[in-house]
Symmetry: C2
Subunit: 337 residues, 2 copies
């Protein structure tokens, strides 16, 4: 392994934010140094970094950079809005910008507090992934085959990842397991990032096109599904990468347990149900081109919703650092905890 | 429109088979002249032509070429086996090779009879697509949005296509309709071929990644689904392009009617159920590369099943040139007819 992925996906260094440029993976391991709030926000928007946790940490650091660069509350609020407009579906982003802003804004040493708060978001992610990994690994039996969608690994949330954390733990526990990796069109986070991560750890896996998951469900080849989440509504509905809903329906139809793994900060109790979540629609170029090569009929348009909503009824459990919840009890459990 | 797609996808000319090279679409309209049985079989295998009907016609012509080139029954049988090994899931391929072989082999003017029989397969496809189009168009109301998967259009079966035939007819009847085109990974027949065909006819459409169909089902945006078939078992189970099963499950879950459109020759009553159908697994390169560009982690393997089985219970109706059948009555209806 060239680098320690549990530590080097995103970090702060002298008021810069240093990240792995995920758009270059798996072909090239390149680091980017983001020197100010605007550069960091732009990197979020361009998806040089992505994944719910990593986006959250980056937006926390972008806020801290704003506190370093800007002096007036008004300008800092403008910066906050600028950051929040980069990826409107990501709960962790809003969680981070609000936490840094509220904790720091009325303090005399607001700059230091902003940076400390951003650091704390990173630290709490690392701890959360460790607990989620242990909880999820309890569900993995020896010789299990696991399906995952998109990348909810170490690149997506610093530490052990979210959806991949149970797999990393099971692997450390010497359980034999095999991972079906949905390639995850249009941006191929599965084929590029999850496959790369699993290869780094020598975890046996195969990439499949998103169309093929149903085939393996039907054949009884998939024992359990783990996915991440970008936002979880109070009723347990989950917004995650486009295609997650399809896999959840197929899992239920084939009696395969379907788990969402995400830190508590992903849960947005202010949003009552999935239908209230804003879905980001991205450029049609992501569908029609791969690496700037046209792969579709040029004169046709394309639609590109980036996320979908998986209703709670398809979800077996939501694993956070606080426990493994039944999604339909999510709200009650959260209020009790 | 540059060419008449209802006539020029595949045709015989002086014992050659002239086809549109579908691997070059949509970027380039190129014709290939296949001069002998081996070249035609190779073009089927390489998917220079594809689609159940077109594969059937090509394999019929390949058999006719074998009758022209080879004199002994033994050699002709060898050629038949060679042709049949190109695409093992395609029922029309076996239908065509058997029909040409059995009709011609014991005749004195076997060569002419072989070519006439191959011509008749093409003619009967053209007629079948016309009837299927009319039957299917009855199901399309004004302002309907339609989902289709892969390419079951004019490129796939000469004439009006199979799954697209109802759409072409509805369009001719001045019904306003919109088509969601699954891009259909790994070979992108939707993004490349279906989108190109629909653009030729000015039918409003948008390409979506295969992951996004569920999103539009859930939003109530899809009124009806039409897909083709590569083989239909006696119990109404349908083998079609990988991903079809996923869309069928999603359609049922969202109460959207799901129709299979295919000529009678696709029905294989000797195969009792879908589980008896051999599924072709193709090279992992199709998943990991697009146009020879690596799009996945290089060191990871990929699995590439080319078809899946949609059980009859998910299918609202199977439309052939003989009628619109309930799939669970398929066998009885066929025996009666």
């Amino acid at each position: 392994m060239e680098i320690d992925l549990t530590k080097e996906v995103i970090r702060a260094e002298n008021k810069n934010v240093v990240i792995i440029n995920q758009t270059k993976l798996p072909h090239k391991l390149e680091f980017l140094t983001l020197k100010n709030c605007k550069e960091t926000a732009q990197a979020i928007k361009n998806m040089n970094l992505r994944g719910a946790g990593t986006v959250g940490v980056a937006s926390g650091y972008a806020m801290a950079q704003a506190f370093s660069e800007l002096k007036s509350k008004e300008k800092i609020l403008e910066a906050k809005e600028f950051i929040e407009n980069t990826r409107p579906t990501a709960q962790n982003l809003f969680y981070a910008t609000n936490l840094v802003y509220k904790t720091a804004i009325d303090e005399t040493n607001s700059e230091k507090i902003a940076w400390d708060t951003a650091d704390s978001i990173l630290a709490s992610d690392i701890e959360a992934t460790s607990i989620m990994g242990k909880l999820g690994a309890e569900l993995i039996e020896d010789n299990y085959s696991i399906l995952t969608h998109c990348n909810a690994g170490k690149l997506a949330i610093q530490g052990y990842g979210s959806a991949l954390a149970p797999i990393y733990y099971a692997h450390e526990q010497k359980k034999n397991c095999f991972v079906y990796v949905d390639e995850t069109r249009p941006r191929l986070q599965g084929a590029r990032l999850t496959a790369w991560e699993l290869a780094q750890e020598n975890i046996d896996h195969a990439i499949i096109v998103d169309n093929a998951a149903g085939y393996y469900f039907q054949k009884g080849k998939i024992d359990i599904v783990f996915v991440g989440a970008d936002r979880i509504a109070g009723n347990g509905d989950v917004a995650n990468k486009i295609g997650t809903y399809e896999k959840a329906v197929l899992a239920k139809e084939n009696d395969v347990p379907f788990y969402v793994v995400a830190p508590q900060s992903t849960i947005d109790t202010k949003t009552k149900s999935g239908s209230d979540i804003i879905i980001e629609h991205r450029s049609q170029d992501e569908v029609k081109n791969i690496n700037s090569n046209l792969i579709a009929n040029e004169k046709s348009k394309a639609f590109n919703p980036a996320f979908d909503i998986t209703p709670a009824k398809y979800i077996t459990g939501i694993i956070t650092e606080n426990g493994n919840y039944k999604p339909d009890n999510l709200y009650n459990n959260l209020c009790e905890s």
